[in-house]
């Protein structure tokens, strides 16, 4: 995999918080780390000190037999109880701030997990896209998270906590992105063979850029530009590609696979697995199971020329 795919990506750890939700959780995490470190140090120091100080000496008589001490035992229960009570109230406050009940509110984006890609639909527009999910900066967004087959899980560490996508129910997540950038994430619930290559890319844009992107995405697919692409388009339509994939503005209207209307404008393909270029596309169309074993794309036995025309067509779907 070429390294430059990840060069301009913002940090993807939970400490690189880029949303108020993630910042709140990071704050709680830091408090927890301080308390936990203090307790661990106490135990480690006591264990070491006692082991060294009270090691058995030669010919030692049996030490004083102590069976307990009520006061000490009360402290042993009381202090941890006070600590966990404190953290209980801290976590309730954070939970209510990060994930208030979304009852009655309309989602800004509906994201559906499939084996193994993300489908994103933007209500109020005709936009539907896959895997590289564009979101505006500075607005409190409500994401609706659904699943089409098995359980998946949406997680972009820099933007806050994760949320499962469960077939048969709708889950919701609030996110307010602080600054533009590309945020990496991944499916975090085991979902079968290609769970590893179910990466997430959130492209956060300033509102004007986002509006521009949304406009371009809403348009129907571009017509093929040259003869090769035209033959690719014809092949795409007459083969069964359209049973699973949608290319808006054409007869291809499948919904089982990713929407390809503006496939050529995406930087990655196969849900973050490979760079979207003609060589990789070529390889993929030749033998999908070799590139991404288990993927639901069947192997079509295309002639080499046909694959080249298909590749050209798909790349022109900017």
């Amino acid at each position: 995999m070429p390294d430059h795919l990840f060069l301009n990506i913002s940090g993807s750890s939970i400490f690189d918080a880029a949303s108020p939700q993630a910042v709140r959780i990071r704050q709680l995490m830091i408090e927890f780390i301080i308390a936990a470190t203090a307790i661990l140090l106490l135990v480690a120091v006591l264990t070491t000190y006692i082991s060294v100080k009270y090691r058995s000496k030669r010919q030692q008589e049996e030490p004083k037999q102590i069976i307990g001490n009520r006061t000490l035992e009360l402290w042993m229960v009381g202090v941890p109880l006070a600590l966990v009570t404190l953290f209980f109230f801290r976590s309730m406050a954070t939970m209510n701030a990060v994930l208030p009940d979304p009852a009655g509110q309309h989602p800004d984006v509906i994201i559906t997990g499939h084996q193994w890609f993300w489908e994103a639909v933007y209500p109020g527009t005709t936009v539907s896209t896959a895997n590289e999910i564009h979101l505006p900066v500075g607005k409190k967004l409500l994401l609706q998270l659904d699943a089409a087959d098995v359980i998946h899980d949406w997680w972009v560490p820099a933007l806050g906590g994760k949320m499962d996508m469960i077939p048969g129910r709708n889950n919701y997540l609030w996110v307010t992105i602080d600054r533009p950038g590309i945020y990496e994430g991944a499916c975090s619930e085991f979902c079968g063979q290609q769970h590893a290559w179910m990466r997430i890319r959130v492209v956060a844009q300033l509102p004007p850029d986002y509006a521009q992107w949304l406009n371009r995405e809403a348009a129907a697919a571009r017509m093929p530009q040259d003869a090769l692409a035209r033959s690719g388009a014809a092949l795409f339509m007459e083969s069964t590609c359209g049973s699973c994939h949608r290319v808006r503005g054409t007869t291809a209207a499948g919904i089982a696979g990713p929407d390809l209307t503006h496939f050529g404008s995406r930087i990655t393909m196969l849900t973050g697995m490979l760079e979207n270029d003609s060589a990789n596309l070529n390889h993929w169309l030749t033998d999908p199971q070799q590139v991404k074993p288990g993927a639901h794309m069947p192997r079509f036995i295309f002639a080499k020329d046909s694959i080249r025309s298909l590749t050209t067509y798909l790349e022109q779907l900017k």
């Binding site: 309730m92 098995v150 077939p167 990496e184």
Partner: protein, 567 residues
């Protein structure tokens, strides 16, 4: 009753760890002696430890570098699923049941379990359960949906190999063995103690087994029901867990974790029992706060059934439900945590002897604290939202299962090995094993905390070359091989000790409880006569009659009558 002697039962030879008994291997297969069955459980555990360990070494090799192609995802998913399932059900449980079956009768002064034939039945159903699970490899593919086997990935549409059917059948079999064994433990403990051993002076290991057996009896029905429902889904097209047919995917999680979280305590409470024997013996002091150790064990068992949703905080159940289970999960950390201080206070002021058993016990105090504290971070819901299902969880659960359960089992092994085999393992090599294993363990799992926080999900067959991911995974893989080398050394130490170890005395550690009053190894009939039991440390009372516990602390012994005087 007519004596039908179809089954060759041992007549005189000692049931030590070798197969050279008067009836050879047939005696082991047909034995109903609790000591032999205990040893069978332990060997079963070692066998599966090697198998499940090899599986994970392949997994770690695959993860050693980014974008690796050593294993296909299909094979990888089977390997990690089998690793987890095997380690829980066929390594940790049989090892615990092995020590329990062997030592509970000895510690309470009984000559066998309440139901010896049921005891054999329990072992053999567990054995066949494990065999059935592994038969899946040659029957078309092992289970591949993880040890917690979430719906609907466990449905036929998403996993059409017979692996998950074998998972259900194998675990049902093993579950029957586990439940019957626990009934046997409860009856044995309640009815076969020497008459003077009241519950108030019962050894803490026996106490923890008693509590644990009730935990098993309450938790396993939930798993067994879920497995039966899943088999119906897969074989008869029921749809308990399939949303498409009107079922509920999340129902599986409730049923599984209602068993699964108590299960975590099922594999740690007996370990607390082992440590509550080891710390006093090697500190030459009584346990600090006997009643507190028992009480916190009971508290853990009760709370264990009210915490399962902390495995499901990211499923979107809402802040009210999550808040309730956050409270209970934080609360259960308290009785678990205080035990660490019970053991530290037991060591304090003692005369500590650094046997290998005690080394594992001391290392446990620190490793288990790490695992316990990282566990608390999952009870704090917002932190759970970030860290659940990442490598941070993998680190946490291994600090609990290895730093807790396995360290306890190894501590128990080095503590009781002379009693079971009549031989002493090589001390120098055993210490090498200890340091090698502890080093390998920490190298493997400490870095995984960081990997999780850096965004690496668990259960991925490979990963992109993001900054830091490659090197941390490589370190983890190196640590795993160090642990494997240590386990190899352990097997060598044990075999060497069995073949030509120094002969062990009957009471090598100057211990407190009844099992050490027998010969090493104990005869076929455990006891011909039993020393008086008047306190929690009957053997020490016997050895030091002048300052016996029941004289110095009458309040804590059964002789505490209004007219008796302590010193």
């Amino acid at each position: 009753m007519t004596d039908i002697n179809l089954v060759p039962e041992p007549q005189e030879s000692l049931p030590d760890l070798s197969v050279s008994n008067d009836q050879g291997i047939l005696q082991w297969i047909s034995s109903v002696d609790h000591k032999q069955i205990g040893i069978l459980y332990l060997w079963l555990s070692v066998l599966f430890l090697v198998v499940a360990g090899s599986e994970i070494l392949l997994v770690r090799l695959q993860l050693a570098i980014p974008n690796n192609h050593l294993l296909t995802p299909e094979v990888y998913n089977q390997l990690f699923t089998m690793h987890g399932t095997t380690m829980i059900f066929f390594v940790a449980m049989p090892a615990i049941f092995g020590f329990t079956t062997y030592f509970v009768p000895l510690m309470i002064g009984a000559n066998d379990m309440a139901f010896p034939r049921l005891n054999a039945f329990s072992f053999w159903t567990t054995f066949f359960g494990g065999s059935l699970l592994y038969f899946s490899f040659i029957a078309g593919g092992a289970p591949d949906a993880g040890w917690f086997n979430y719906a609907p990935l466990n449905q036929y549409n998403y996993s059409s190999s017979p692996g998950i059917d074998y998972y259900c059948a194998g675990l049902l079999f093993a579950g029957i063995g586990t439940v019957t064994a626990s009934v046997n433990f409860v009856v044995t403990i309640l009815y076969y103690r020497v008459p003077s051993m009241s519950l108030k002076i019962m050894p803490l290991f026996v106490w923890m087994i008693l509590i644990n057996s009730f935990l098993v009896l309450a938790a396993f029905p939930s798993l067994n029901a879920a497995l039966a429902m899943l088999l119906l889904d897969r074989q008869l097209h029921a749809h308990f867990f399939s949303a498409v047919g009107g079922g509920s995917a999340i129902l599986w999680q409730h049923l599984f974790w209602l068993f699964g979280h108590p299960e975590v305590y099922i594999v740690i409470l007996p370990i607390f029992g082992i440590f509550s024997e080891v710390f006093p013996v090697f500190s030459r002091k009584p346990i600090f706060g006997y009643s507190m150790v028992v009480g916190s064990g009971i508290a853990i068992a009760l709370l264990a059934f009210g915490v399962w949703v902390h495995h499901m905080f990211a499923t979107g159940l809402g802040n009210t439900v999550n808040g309730f289970f956050a409270a209970s999960s934080l609360l259960i950390g308290v009785p678990t945590g205080v035990k660490i201080f019970n053991w530290l206070a037991t060591m304090h002021g003692g005369a500590i002897r650094f046997s290998v058993s005690m080394l594992f016990a001391i290392a446990f105090l620190i490793e288990f604290t790490i695992g316990g504290l990282s566990g608390i971070s999952f009870a704090i819901v917002p932190i759970d939202w970030q860290l659940t299902d990442t490598y941070y969880v993998v680190a946490h659960l291994h600090f609990v299962f290895i730093g807790g359960t396995l360290f306890g089992l190894l501590s128990g092994l080095f503590y009781w090995f002379p009693k079971m085999s009549g031989r002493v393992p090589d001390l120098r090599l055993s210490k090498w094993f200890f340091w090698l294993f502890v080093a390998g363990f920490n190298i493997t799992f400490l870095v995984q905390h960081a990997l999780g926080a850096m965004g690496m999900p668990r259960r991925v067959y490979t990963y992109p070359d993001l900054p830091g991911w490659g090197i941390l995974n490589l370190i983890s893989t190196i640590g795993a091989f160090l642990m494997a080398a240590a386990v190899g050394l352990l097997v060598y130490i044990l075999i060497k000790a069995l073949k030509k170890g120094v002969i062990a005395t009957d009471d090598p550690w100057d211990a407190n409880t009844l099992e050490w009053t027998t010969t090493s190894p104990p005869g076929l009939k455990n006891f011909d006569r039993i020393i008086p039991v008047k306190s929690a440390r009957p053997f020490r009372d016997y050895k030091r009659p002048a300052d016996a516990d029941w004289k110095t602390n009458p309040a804590d012994s059964i002789t505490a009558k209004p007219n008796s005087h302590g010193k």
